[in-house]
């Protein structure tokens, strides 16, 4: 897959009209994600009740890949259990770094439109940042950075 197929209509559409973009009054989990290398940052707020993500929103300034990833992520995890969301986080990350084949066995569905990112090592972090931040919010970590060594979602460019 090349970059042509990465910037396809579904991603451009989510960038233009992001879903679940805004603020959430009754959020009981939130996290700030930041990529200091490019200045991308986003904020995720969600409501976790009885193990389910009943509502989730995001806000921030970022590139199209990051924004579309956040938009599609929120649409996908809304109404899911925390455990299912964690599975998606893991699978998305593995797809982004080329460890999971998009046509293999997984739960990503249309999120495979991001599979082309594995050919763009410098952009992997853009796609992963929302997932990285969701993971932090679910685990009550207030802020994360793509450049933190101790972050379990840390993906260095060299590994990607």
């Amino acid at each position: 897959m090349n970059t042509k197929s990465l910037y396809q209509e579904v991603i451009l559409d989510h960038n233009r009209n992001p879903r679940n973009y805004g603020s959430l009054d009754n959020a009981n989990r939130s996290a700030e994600g930041h990529n200091p290398l490019c200045g991308d940052h986003l904020n995720i707020k969600l409501n976790l009740s009885r193990g389910y993500i009943s509502d989730i929103v995001f806000q921030g300034e970022s590139c199209a890949i990051c924004k579309a990833s956040a938009s599609m992520m929120t649409a996908n995890v809304k109404g899911k259990t925390q455990a299912d969301a964690e599975t998606l986080i893991q699978e998305f990350r593995e797809m982004a770094i080329g460890k999971l084949e998009p046509d293999g066995n997984h739960h990503l569905g249309r999120l495979t439109v991001f599979s082309g990112i594995r050919d763009l090592p410098t952009r992997v972090k853009c796609a992963i940042l929302p997932w990285h931040t969701l993971h932090a919010a679910l685990n009550s970590v207030a802020t994360i950075s793509t450049e933190d060594d101790d972050d379990p979602m840390h993906v260095s460019i060299g590994n990607a």
Partner: protein, 419 residues
């Protein structure tokens, strides 16, 4: 920017055969995803012409041994070639003496050398260092590290919205505590050429030495350190068609002699006992350990190559390139040029409405166009213009007008995708 009067037609291209020059650069024949490479990331690193590659191969195949050591033929040859490289660099910047040219690993290394060798010895608690908003992080962080260590203060010259330093503010920053000025000759993010001669004169009238970061200036114009009267001037080889891992620090001999060494080791000593070590004379005092000999020789081959084309010719041609590119982009809807100084080199930082620089960079790459996107290691500049990042096209003398056109049509494609 001042534009060529009433015509976009380049003035000097008739004298300057860019197509001929391009044949010297093997990498420019590359295709990226089937598209001809359009390399517009020269401010990050320039490409190497065949004569420089050949010179380094010749050194490595026929002349290599360690320098300043043995009496054998190869060691003497390598030493001679290395010192000849220093001499050529001295001539390139019109320094008065060979020993005023110190080989470093690059500009960053050179600034760290001065921050350590001069700063730690002559700048103390309560003293002030003047820097500017336009500095690359490499001319900020070493001084911050020094200030953190010894309690010195950093004062910063602000810029206006065209990306020019506010010289009146610069003058107002001086007081009895001012001990040093560090200023970039040319902004890497915007291309602004700073009035360093005037700034140096003002600082010297108050007894304050000045370091000029020339990393982005030396590739684009003739540098004359005696005319500038700067105390330190530094630039890197890889931005002047040479190899990475080499640069020079020019320093006035009287200052270099008073400074403490930066790195300890072999070659920088006169004698060593466990009781006392006596340091070597300059420039060797600052060149501890085996230097990158091949890189130094490649660096001098690169400046010979540039000098043969002629730096004034390069400057004139690049002015045509940037005027042409600026004029094209100025009339494009949805484009904002960031940094529009009256005096600038061939660097074009810009924003496209509604499109993040990283998406621009990835999509231009799809057209074979290499630009830099990000904060360009100049976050204070980004903060002034309230953008997290820009897209930067930076030109060299081997870029053609056709490549400017390729950039423009690449930008139009990006706008179409995001429309």
């Amino acid at each position: 920017m001042k534009l060529v009067e009433s015509s976009l037609k380049p003035l000097s291209t008739s004298m300057f055969n860019v197509e001929h020059i391009r044949t010297d650069f093997p990498i420019l024949k590359l295709k990226i995803d089937g598209k001809p490479l359009v390399y517009l990331d020269n401010a990050a690193s320039s490409q190497m012409p065949q004569p420089v590659i050949d010179r380094m191969v010749k050194y490595q195949t026929m002349q290599h041994a360690n320098i300043n050591r043995a009496v054998h033929y190869l060691s003497e040859t390598a030493t001679t070639e290395y010192e000849e490289s220093r001499r050529r660099l001295k001539r390139f910047i019109n320094a008065s003496e060979d020993r005023e040219v110190i080989f470093t690993s690059g500009t960053t290394d050179a600034i760290n050398l001065v921050a350590h060798g001069y700063g730690r010895k002559f700048i103390g608690s309560g003293d002030e260092i003047i820097l500017t908003t336009l500095e690359h992080h490499s001319n900020i962080v070493p001084w911050q590290m020094l200030a953190e260590e010894n309690g010195a203060k950093i004062r910063v010259v602000p810029i206006n919205d065209t990306g020019e330093l506010l010289i009146e503010k610069y003058k107002q920053l001086f007081n009895k505590h001012t001990k040093f000025v560090g200023v970039t000759h040319v902004s890497n993010a915007l291309g602004t050429v700073n009035p360093i001669k005037q700034m140096i004169e003002f600082a010297h009238a108050r007894g304050v030495p000045v370091l000029v970061d020339g990393a982005q200036a030396a590739p684009h114009m003739k540098i004359d350190v005696q005319d500038l009267d700067c105390d330190f001037y530094t630039f890197s080889g890889h931005k002047l068609c040479g190899p990475t891992g080499i640069g020079i620090l020019y320093g006035k001999a009287a200052l270099l002699e008073r400074m403490q060494p930066f790195k300890g080791g072999g070659d920088m000593i006169a004698s060593v006992t466990f009781e006392k070590t006596t340091y070597n004379t300059i420039p060797h005092k600052f060149e501890a350990g085996t230097p990158p000999i091949a890189a130094a020789i490649g660096f001098s081959a690169a400046i010979d190559y540039l000098s043969a084309i002629n730096m004034s010719m390069i400057a004139a041609y690049e002015r045509d390139l940037i005027n042409y590119a600026t004029e094209q982009m100025r009339h494009m809807p949805g484009i904002r040029i960031i940094g529009d100084a009256t005096e600038k080199v061939a660097v074009l930082s810009f924003a496209i409405d509604g499109v993040h620089p990283h998406d621009i960079g990835t999509l231009l790459n799809q057209e074979g166009i290499a630009v830099r996107t990000g904060h360009h290691c100049a976050q204070p500049v980004m903060q002034h213009f309230k953008v997290p990042a820009t897209t930067r096209a930076s030109f060299a003398f081997y870029n053609s007008m056709n490549e400017v056109d390729a950039l423009i049509s690449g930008i139009q494609k990006v706008q179409k995708i995001f429309s």
